[in-house]
Point group: C2
Chain length 515, copies 2
Amino acid sequence: MTGEIEELRARLAEIDDLRNASRVLDWDQQTMMPPRGAQARADALATLERIVHEMFVDERTGRLIERARTRLEREGADPDSDEARLVAVAARRYEKARRVPSELAAEIAHASSIGQQVWAKARAEEDFAAFAPYLQRNLDLARRYVDCFQGLDFERPYDVLLDDYDPGMRAAEVARLFEQLKAGLVPLIERLSPVVVDDSCLHRRVDVERQRRLVREVLQLQGFEPEGWRLDDAVHPFATSLGSGDVRITTRWDEGYFPMALFGAMHECGHGLYEDGIAPELRRTPLGHAESLSLHESQSRLWENFVGRGRAFAEQLAPRVVRTLYGGEGELDPEQLFRAVNRVAPSFIRVEADEATYGLHIVLRFELEQELIEGRIGVGELPEAWNARMREYLGLEVRRDSEGVLQDVHWSAGLIGYFPTYALGNMIAAQLWACARRELPELERQIAGGELRTLREWLRERVHRHGAKFQTGELLRRVCGEPLMAEPFLRYLREKLGAAYGVELIPPQPHQEVE
Amino acid sequence: MTGEIEELRARLAEIDDLRNASRVLDWDQQTMMPPRGAQARADALATLERIVHEMFVDERTGRLIERARTRLEREGADPDSDEARLVAVAARRYEKARRVPSELAAEIAHASSIGQQVWAKARAEEDFAAFAPYLQRNLDLARRYVDCFQGLDFERPYDVLLDDYDPGMRAAEVARLFEQLKAGLVPLIERLSPVVVDDSCLHRRVDVERQRRLVREVLQLQGFEPEGWRLDDAVHPFATSLGSGDVRITTRWDEGYFPMALFGAMHECGHGLYEDGIAPELRRTPLGHAESLSLHESQSRLWENFVGRGRAFAEQLAPRVVRTLYGGEGELDPEQLFRAVNRVAPSFIRVEADEATYGLHIVLRFELEQELIEGRIGVGELPEAWNARMREYLGLEVRRDSEGVLQDVHWSAGLIGYFPTYALGNMIAAQLWACARRELPELERQIAGGELRTLREWLRERVHRHGAKFQTGELLRRVCGEPLMAEPFLRYLREKLGAAYGVELIPPQPHQEVE
C-alpha cells in the first residue's frame, strides 16, 4: 500500500508529532512547571494548537484523504484494515474540524480558560451567581458549536457534544442505559449504605515515602516499566502518552488515607497501559492514540476497581500494606481490607465516591447537562435542580455549592458531554471483565498470586492494540460479542458487594406489564 | 509604534512560542524522558524544528521585516531602540537562514545525530579511526554551509561558523586574544602547578541529599526562586529558559567530590539569571533570549568562578560546608577552602580543568578546528596534532584518545566554532567583574556576607535586560567602555591565584623589539 496512503500517512504523522509536542507541554505544565511560567506556556500551547489545527483543516489534508479513499475503493480494501480505518477516522475528524470556524474555536478556547479561572474563585467563595454568566456563555458557545454540524447524522444537539468524547455514541442510547443503571443502583445503595463497615485500616497515618514504595510495587505488577514510564505527582491526577514508548502517569498523596494514591495510581496506570499497548504500526497516525474516552475509562476502572478493589487482589495487597505501609507491625486480614475498600456510602463529591454511588453522580450530571443544552432548565435554576436530584438519588442534603454544583471543573471549561464517559467506562469494564473471566479460567488465582500479566496481555490483544480503529460499540461487539449494556456492571456490583457485605443482593424484579 | 512593527512582532512571537515548545521537549528529553521515548521525541522535535524553520524563512516573514524596516527608516527611529534592534536582528537571522537550503540543513542535522552516536561508541572503544569518517563528513558539511554565505561580510571560512555562536565575532580577533591568553597562561601554570595544594576538604564523602541542601542554600542566595525556577539532575548539565518566568537548571552529583554539583549548579544558575533578567518588553521577540554564547558563558563563569571560587564567598561557603555537608563536625578555614577550590593542575579533560589551565584547552581546540576547516591538517593527523599541543601547552602526555581528541561531543555534533565562546566568556566575565568592583565598592564585603543581590541587580541592569539587543563587542563597550580584551582576565587570575598560593605573580615583560 504505497503512494496515496503513504502521502496521507506522512502528513498525519507530522500532525501527530505536533500533538505529541502539545502533550509534553501540557504534562510539564501539570507536573513540573514553576508557577511563573504559566503565561509563556499558555502562549506556546495556543500557538502550537492553532498551527496543528491549521495544518489539519488545510485543503491539502482534504485532498490527500480524498485521494487515499479513492485508491482504497479502487483496490476494494477490507474496511477493517488499518489503512481503511485510518482513512475513515481521518476523514471523519477532518469533516468535523472543517465545520468549526476558527473564530468560534478561538472563542471556545478563550471562554474555557476564563471559565476555569472564574469557577475556581466561585467555588472557593461559594458564589454560584458569579460563575453563572460564564456557564451561560459556555452553553451558548456549545449551542453554536452544535449548529456547525447540521446535516450530519446527529439526532439531538447533545449527540454532537457526546460524539467528541465517544465517537458514535448517542444520547438516546446513553439515556436508556442510564435509566437501567439508576434503577439498579438506587435499591442497592439503599440496602448497603446503612450497614456499618470498619475501614479504619485505610486511615492509618503513613508517610508519603512508604506509600510511594507500595505504589511502585503494585504498579510494577500492573505493567509499569521504568524504561518507558514515569510516575509523578499532580494536583489533578491524569495519564498521558507523549508518543510511542513514553507513558506518564500521576497521582496525589494523602498521609491519612493511602487508597487515594494507590488506587489513583492503578487507575492512571490502566489508562497508561491502553496507550502503551497500541500496535506499533498504528503509531504516528490518528489511530495511534486511543479515542473513545469511555473505552479509556473502562481500562482505568477495570484496573482500579475490578482488579485493585477485588477480593483476589486483596490477598496480594493485605500483606504488602502490612509490610510496606505499616512497617511490618500488626496484621491485616485480606477479607477486612476487601470490605474496607468497598464501603458503600453516599457522599457529595464525585471523585471521592465509591463504585456504587459513583454512577448516580454521573446520571445526575448527564440529565442536567442535557436539560441545559436543550434549554429545558436555565442556568439560574441549576443549583436547586442539582440539590433536588442529590436528595432523590443519594438521599443527601447539599449544604453548599462547593460540594454540589460547583465541585467539578468540566462545565467551566466548556466540557459538556464528557461526564457520561465515566459511567459508560464502568459498564464496558464490567463486560470486558466478564469476558476475561470466561476466557481466562485461572484469572482470579493469578491475581491473588500477583500475576497480572495474563490479564494485561489479554486486554492488550483484545482492546489496546487497536488504538482508535474501532468505536466503542464495534469494539465491544468484537471482544464480547454483545452490545454495550448496563446489566453486567450491576451484576458485578451485586456479586462483589454481596460478598464484601456478606449479604445476598437480589436484582429488582422487572415490572409486570398489566395486560 | 504600531502597524508594520506589530505585524512583524506577531509573526515572530509565534515563532518564539514554537521555539519555546522545542525547548520544553529538549529539557524533558534530558531530564525526565524514559529511554523508550527517544524515537517519538526525535520525531516530534524534527517536525517542530522543520515547521519553525519554514515559518521563519517564508517570504511572508521577509516582507514583514522589509515593511517594518521601511517604516523605521521613514520615522528616523533610534537605531538602538528596541524596535530598530528587533528588526535588525530579525533581518540578520532571516538573511542567514534563507541562505541555507533545507536539504543541507537536513543533512547537517542528520549527520549531527549519527555523528554523536558513532562518537559515543568510538570514545568508549578508544577507536578514533571509526569516528574519523564522520568527523570528515561534518567538516565537509561545515564547508558547504560556509559556502552558503559568500558575499556577506565574512573574511574567513571560520568566521561564518563562529558567527552562529557569537554574532559579529571574527576569527582574527579571537586569534589575537588567544595569543595573549596563551602567552599569559603558560608561565602562570608553570609557576603554580608544581606547588602542592591540600584539597582534601573537597574530597570527603557526602551523600547527595546533603549536597542538595547546600546547593539549594547557595542557589537561593544567588537568585534561584522556586516560583520561577527548577533544579533537576542531568548527565550533561545545562540551563534553559522555556519562556518568560520559567528557568530550568540542572546539575550532576559526585558523592566523593561536592564541588562538581555545587559549582556546576552556580554555573548553570548564572546562565539562568541571564535568561531570567531579560526585559519583559523583549519577550516573545528574537531579542527575548540571549544570543551570544560568549556573553552567556561570561555570566555562568562569573558566578561559578569569580563569585563561587572567590576569597569573599569562601567566608560564606566554609561554615555552610561544615554545617550542611559535614553535619556540623570539624572545622574548615575559609582560606583553606579558597586555596583548595583554586588549585591549578594541568589535566586531560576540559570540563574538569581549573580556571587557569581551562583557557589552554580552548586555545588548542580553536587552533585545531581552524586548521581543519581550512584544510591545513587532515582528520587523520588530528590525534597526533592534539597530543603534540597538549604536550606543548600543558606538559601532558595523552595516553588514550578518550582523554584526548575524543573527549568532547562538539565536533561529532557538527558544532565547529563553538569552543572559543567558553574562553571568551572568561575574558568578558573578567571585564565585567572589574567594572562591577569599581562601581560597587562594597561588593566583596557583600559577597562575604552572603548578600549577592547587589551584584545580581547590577548584572541584570547592565547585561541581562538587553537580551539579544547588542552583540558581544557592543555590549562590552556600553558596560565597561572598552573592547574585548585578554589582559583583565589574566590580571584577575594573577591576583586571585597569587593570593590563594601566597606568591606574587608578575606579568611577563613584553618582548623588547630589537631596533
